[in-house]
């Protein structure tokens, strides 16, 4: 009894352990994220079909074997990676340019920064619908002005051709999310002290050299954050692609999310969709992990 009394006394005297303080957050996380994740892992080894009472049989790794041996999955995964690489690379380039322009502290900068938020504030589905109308070869503004300005002789059927469909798809994502990158980088630019630049100028460095050897290195942590957030978000893109191209023409812009949607929410084949989701999660986790590893070499922001 004395031992127990001592233990309780010590426990009362100590401040509340971190785990106790974190428990509400952990409970929510477990309920909203960890629980569903485990459910998806569990379902992926069953042939669960929500509408088929005979389903729900344990099938081991059959669903995974179907995923790995399905050439459409690899095709869609390739498209997903292409989309992410093209969109995020362009967003970083344009975002950096835009951030530099906005950091010049011109009178118009605040107004432009305010306007920049507009594309981000728009629901991706609505943006895609508007772009679809704009690109319509018969009634859209894009074709109309391209012909009116004699850039093209005939209307361009943007969404009927593989290359132009990709341009439209990547263009929409870049238009919508470049401001997001620009705002992050603008915050970084505004935090860079003036002294190193002034010292470089005294030493005879020109503007390009100062940008390359001072601004860019000091901006790396912000570039890393923007890159990570955009890669994760671009991987998850679904609605804009579904509405703008529907994966077409043919299957040339079909990404893995469209396939998961079809299997899960049109076929209601939960087992197969879960296996697809788990594989996609593993790919995404691998890509993000590699990105963090590479980026943390040059910046300490992402360490720990």
């Amino acid at each position: 009894m004395a031992v127990l009394r001592d233990t309780l006394g010590r426990w009362r005297a100590r401040p509340a352990p971190g785990l106790v303080l974190l428990s509400p957050v952990l409970a929510i996380l477990a309920l909203m994220t960890i629980g569903p994740a485990f459910f998806i892992f569990a379902r992926s080894v069953f042939n669960t079909d929500l509408m088929n009472p005979g389903s729900g049989r344990f099938v081991g790794l059959t669903n995974y074997a179907n995923v790995v041996t399905n050439p459409d999955v690899w095709h869609d995964l390739g498209n997903t990676l292409l989309f992410v690489c093209a969109a995020v690379a362009l967003e970083l380039c344009f975002g950096l340019l835009l951030a530099i322009l906005l950091s010049q502290k011109l009178l118009e900068s605040n107004l432009v920064a305010g306007l920049l938020i507009l594309p981000m504030a728009m629901t991706p589905a609505v943006s895609a619908l508007i772009w679809r109308e704009l690109l319509d070869p018969n009634f859209g503004w894009v074709s109309y002005y391209l012909q009116a300005w004699h850039v093209t002789a005939d209307p361009i059927a943007w969404l009927s051709n593989t290359n132009t469909s990709w341009i439209a798809l990547v263009g929409l994502n870049v238009w919508q999310w470049t401001p997001f990158v620009a705002l992050i980088l603008l915050a970084g630019l505004q935090g860079i002290p003036l002294e190193p630049k002034e010292a470089a100028a005294v030493d005879g460095a020109n503007a390009w050299q100062a940008f390359l050897h001072i601004t860019l290195p000091m901006l790396r942590p912000f570039i890393a954050i923007a890159l990570l957030l955009r890669v994760i978000d671009a991987f998850k893109t679904f609605d804009a692609i579904q509405i703008l191209t529907g994966g077409g023409p043919g299957t040339s812009t079909e990404v893995i999310n469209l396939m998961i949607y079809r299997v899960a929410l049109q076929d209601f084949n939960v087992g197969a969709a879960s296996a697809l989701g788990v594989c996609f999660l593993l790919v995404l986790a691998f890509v993000v992990q590699q990105l963090i590893r590479i980026l943390s070499r040059s910046t300490d922001v992402l360490e720990d």
Partner: protein, 475 residues
């Protein structure tokens, strides 16, 4: 779609027509007794889950007050667009929710739902429950069998349609009735009547082709007429098609496939692709040629869905179009239009797809819900629903539509729709139809864009469909 305003003359005609229609159907007081009698407490409300424009939600809204008057029950309506509706219906049924009493079901969903929807055959056979309002023989039998009759355990089977609707025979064969059809959509052709009647066009066509300019009834005539009207300099093209990536491209192709003598169901009873055949290749070659060789379609047709097809025709860009509903030319297009059946080849089989009202098996008011759908699909209700352009499922309502001032502004549409439904071909009954559908529309789109030959595109799709059917357990 813009709706023209009614002139006083039209309003008077409408009034006269309504009086005539009311005289032709049982009076409201008689209607209540036309339904069967039910024991048990009457619910104060029935909840219905419905679609939006796809099955004309305005039609349901229109008759809600009558429903209350006739059945003494409030009808609470929830409606949502196609994709959201499908997910909602499946989620409600998967979770055994009793919230909705009546649920609208699209035909491609049913193969997965035969164990989740209340079978109604016993209700239908129970004369006390059904009453005289049901009048089963009045339904278009092809529509009824394709929409509502399924084998619960072998949902891929089609009941051999006999022309008459016999619930006892259905039950005897192990099938069940799972709902009552409410909206019947079929592929029909619309055309610019003013262009076809134009004397200069008539003379030019006669001089060029040596025959009078008429609305095409065969696919060879269709190509000829479409070529004649294609004048890109005047922003006029022969026809729209729905060759974009989506269900619409499959539907276009299966209509042509049936015309060329192939099996419009796409998959045969042995679970083999039925489209990779000589008929299929010829049909798809014709389709692709319209776009790439004859060039009778407007720019961007290989990304068209039914929405773009409608907006392009309505804007006066094409002389002909094929779609699933009435059209309305934009106000700046000075022209008139009418409808005809989609051309035929050695055979005919325009695509059709129908919606039915079903009873939620988890509802606490199943028998009342059944009576609700009997009333909602009755001749009385469907007649009134013509005002909002319902596509009826009953012969008597089509007969009425032919002389009704309410539908006269749609020209021959209802006549054409009924005729199209009687020869239409539905979809294959597969649980994974969404995947099969995609494989076919990708082939159609690839051939239409010229990125693959029709033969290669169909061979690739057939191989994929075989694999999909095998994976889904169809052997």
């Amino acid at each position: 779609m813009s709706k023209p305003t009614l002139s006083r003359r039209d309003a008077l005609k409408l009034g006269a027509g309504t009086v005539a229609a009311l005289a032709a159907v049982p009076a409201p007081s008689a209607l209540a007794s036309s339904l069967g009698r039910l024991g048990g407490a009457k619910p104060s409300q029935l909840r219905i889950l419905y679609t939006t424009v796809e099955a004309d939600v305005d039609a349901i809204k229109l008759v809600i007050p009558d429903f209350k008057k006739e059945l003494g029950i409030d009808l609470k309506l929830d409606s949502m667009p196609y994709n959201a509706l499908q997910q909602k219906v499946f989620a409600e049924l998967a979770s055994s929710s009793s919230y909705y009493d009546i649920i609208i079901v699209d035909t491609p969903w049913m193969p997965a739902l035969t164990h989740k929807i209340q079978p109604l055959t016993d209700y239908v056979l129970n004369k006390q429950l059904s009453g005289s309002l049901l009048d089963l023989q009045d339904f278009i039998s092809k529509v009824f069998y394709d929409t509502a009759v399924y084998h619960p355990d072998r949902s891929y089977l089609h009941f051999p349609s006999t022309g008459t609707i016999d619930p006892a025979a259905i039950k005897h064969a192990g099938f069940d009735i799972f709902g009552l059809p409410i909206q019947a959509n079929a592929l029909t052709m619309s055309y610019r009547k003013d262009l076809f009647n134009d004397s200069a066009n008539k003379a030019a066509f006669k001089s060029k082709f040596g025959r009078p300019l008429t609305v095409p009834t065969t696919w060879s005539e269709f190509k000829q007429v479409a070529t004649f009207f294609t004048r890109p300099g005047q922003r006029l093209f022969g026809t729209t098609l729905m060759a974009g990536t989506g269900d619409w491209a499959t539907d276009d192709f299966k209509s042509l496939l049936a015309s060329w003598g192939g099996d419009g169901h796409l998959v045969n009873d042995k679970f083999q692709p039925a489209f990779n055949s000589a008929a299929g290749v010829a049909a798809l070659t014709y389709y692709a040629d319209l776009i790439n060789t004859s060039k009778v379609t407007p720019p961007g047709v290989t990304s068209f869905s039914w929405d773009e097809a409608a907006s392009t025709f309505d804007a006066g860009l094409t002389a002909m179009s094929m779609n699933y509903h009435t059209e309305a030319l934009n106000s700046n297009v000075k022209g008139t239009l009418d409808y005809a059946m989609v051309p035929h080849g050695v055979s005919a089989g325009p695509h059709f797809g129908t919606w039915m009202l079903s009873v939620n098996p988890y509802s606490k008011n199943r028998e009342w819900a059944y009576q609700g759908i009997v009333w909602l699909t009755s001749r009385t209700a469907q007649s009134k629903m013509l005002q909002t352009q319902l596509h009826p499922t009953r012969h008597s309502v089509y007969k009425e539509a032919l002389s009704s001032p309410v539908t006269s502004k749609f020209g021959s549409f209802y006549k054409v729709l009924e005729a199209s439904l009687s020869v239409g071909v539905g979809r294959p009954r597969l649980r994974n139809y969404a995947d099969v559908d995609q494989a076919v529309w990708v082939a159609v789109n690839n051939a239409a864009r010229g990125s693959a030959t029709p033969k290669a595109a169909l061979a690739s799709a057939a191989s994929k469909v075989t694999s999909l059917l095998h994976q889904a357990g169809y052997k």
